[in-house]
Amino acid sequence: LGGGSKDLNATLAQLEEVLITSDLGVDTVDSVLADLRADAKAARLTSREDITTCLKDSLVRILLRRGGQDGVADLAVRAKGEGPTVVVVIGANGMGKTTTIGKLATRYRREGKTVLLAACDTFRAAAVAQLQTWGERADAAVVVPKTGQKSAAGVCYDAMAQGVRDDVDVVIVDTSGRLHTNINLMGELKKIVGVVGKFRDGSGPDEVLLVVDASIGRNAVTQARTWSDEVGVSGLVVTKLDGTARAGFVVSVVDELGLPVKLIGVGESVDDLRDFDPVLFVEGLVG
């Protein structure tokens, strides 16, 4: 096992189990534990406590170094007079996009900002009605598809036009769930993002947030990589962290792709949205 005391090996074996069952993935676990073995030997750490603390510190360092300034990855804000800040929310089916938008809209409203929601899921049953309910809860206007309007990009266009005309502070775009393997839906998303660019001399949305459920396994890394390559992702939202899942994929995504985690969802109510805290997160991961 690369040399080291019996205690070190026993502790590393236990930690390997903890990290694997937290969904860090074998490759990430191997590299993290290799570094931990080296650090522990260099610092002559032998107790399980000290070695675990060393692990947590190094995981937090990864999340801070790769995940944004001081680990506090704020949401982008457009300068005054430059039109609305635009946040496009994407992700696989059922991850929590629509609910996160409801919570985020409420947060912006509490900061005194005006918010417009774009209901660009023109496919799924009752998707628009769901977003409208959240719009009412958050006190945000909602632009919905016109009767028979199937084009998600078309709805986005209408929302941007209204947002610019009414000088709204923030436009949040809800999109339908989509798997990164669906080429047609990927094309649809690129169109939506392109529409935003039409209203601001070609520059894209201020945020493209990829929403991922905490219980997802290694596929989360593939999703992040694919969407990042295809449309550009500015940050991650990890939802359902109020459950037992620990979202270990975050470590791989942040380390390998340098994507910051901006927000976390911890429940189904309007207040269940928090900023990402790397220290608390690692505490939950390693225990």
């Binding site: 009752a126 769901q130 396994g217 899942a245």
Partner: protein, 287 residues
């Protein structure tokens, strides 16, 4: 693919007449890594590896069979053994003994409401999600597409009372099957787990199906155990298999509960439901 990674093993085994721990040790490690990468739960993987080792080590290399191929065949057989030999059908009550009742349960966003519509034949759907915005409307819209009836009642009555009344309506309306859609819930939410037990007690389902997202990581084993211990399941539906996730969650679900996956979801449209085929899933997981 795993088969390619096993080339080393195959070369080692060529010219030998017995599979020993020495000559398959490396291969077993490779299989373990691959299954963890496919999101199979750690404990389930370790049990599988132990079973494979027991069968393979000491076994004579069959004349005329490539030893590496024989080894892969053992892995594949152990996998399918866990996943059941044949497709398992939906429970069906004898004619004249009232409607067959199917209860759907699972985490948030797994695909329960969509699955309810997919399972519909001569069915009454009962809308028992009293929490999610527009949940009832979603089920009604899906049902409307396939001309199936939905029983709804005032949300204030609560899930248990709605389920009870839905069952009465089914008996009076001579429906031959009732499918009960419930709200997504986390296993550590005691109040909601109790609600689910109460819905089950009130409706005595012939099938209680756990709906699980195929992308679920290590947590698949925990959530299955929790739902099975707390409520009792008779089978599962694995959704979103139209993506590129390998779906190791399938193995975890079946291994932990001892119950079969009965159906798989292969898309968002209502016709995208197929019976579960163990061998197909085994190949997919092994990659």
């Amino acid at each position: 693919s795993l088969a390619e990674k096993m080339d080393q093993t195959v070369r080692k085994l060529r010219g030998t007449d017995k599979i020993t721990e020495a000559n398959i040790g490396g291969a077993l490690k490779e299989v373990r890594r691959s299954m963890l990468d496919a999101d199979v739960n750690l404990r389930v993987v370790d049990q599988l590896i132990a079973d494979v080792r027991e069968r393979a080590v000491g076994s004579q290399v069959v004349a005329g069979v490539e030893p590496g191929q024989q080894f892969i065949k053992i892995i594949y057989e152990e996998l399918t053994r866990v996943m059941g030999k044949d497709a398992a059908p939906l429970a069906r009550r004898a004619a004249g003994s009232g409607p067959t009742v199917v209860l759907l349960a699972g985490l948030q966003g797994a695909g329960k409401t969509t699955a309810a519509a997919k399972l519909a034949l001569y069915v009454l759907l009962v809308a028992c999600d009293v929490y999610r915005p527009a949940a009832v409307e979603q089920l009604q819209t899906l049902a409307g597409m396939i001309d199936v009836d939905v029983f709804t009642a005032d949300l204030e009555l609560g899930a248990v009372e709605i389920a009870r009344r839905g069952l009465t309506a089914a008996e009076e309306g001579k429906y031959d099957t009732v499918i009960i859609d419930t709200a997504g819930r986390q296993v550590i939410n005691d109040k909601l787990m109790r609600e689910l037990r109460d819905v089950k007690a009130a409706t005595r389902p012939d099938d209680t199906l756990l709906v699980v997202d195929a992308m679920t990581g290590q947590e698949a084993a925990n959530l299955t155990r929790a739902f099975n211990d707390s409520v009792g399941i008779t089978g599962a539906i694995l959704t979103k298999l139209d993506g590129d996730t390998r779906g190791g969650a399938a193995l975890s679900v079946q291994s932990v509960s001892g119950k079969p996956i009965k159906f798989v979801g292969t898309g968002e449209k209502v016709e995208k439901l197929e019976p579960f085929f163990p061998e197909r899933m085994a190949s997919r997981i092994l990659g």
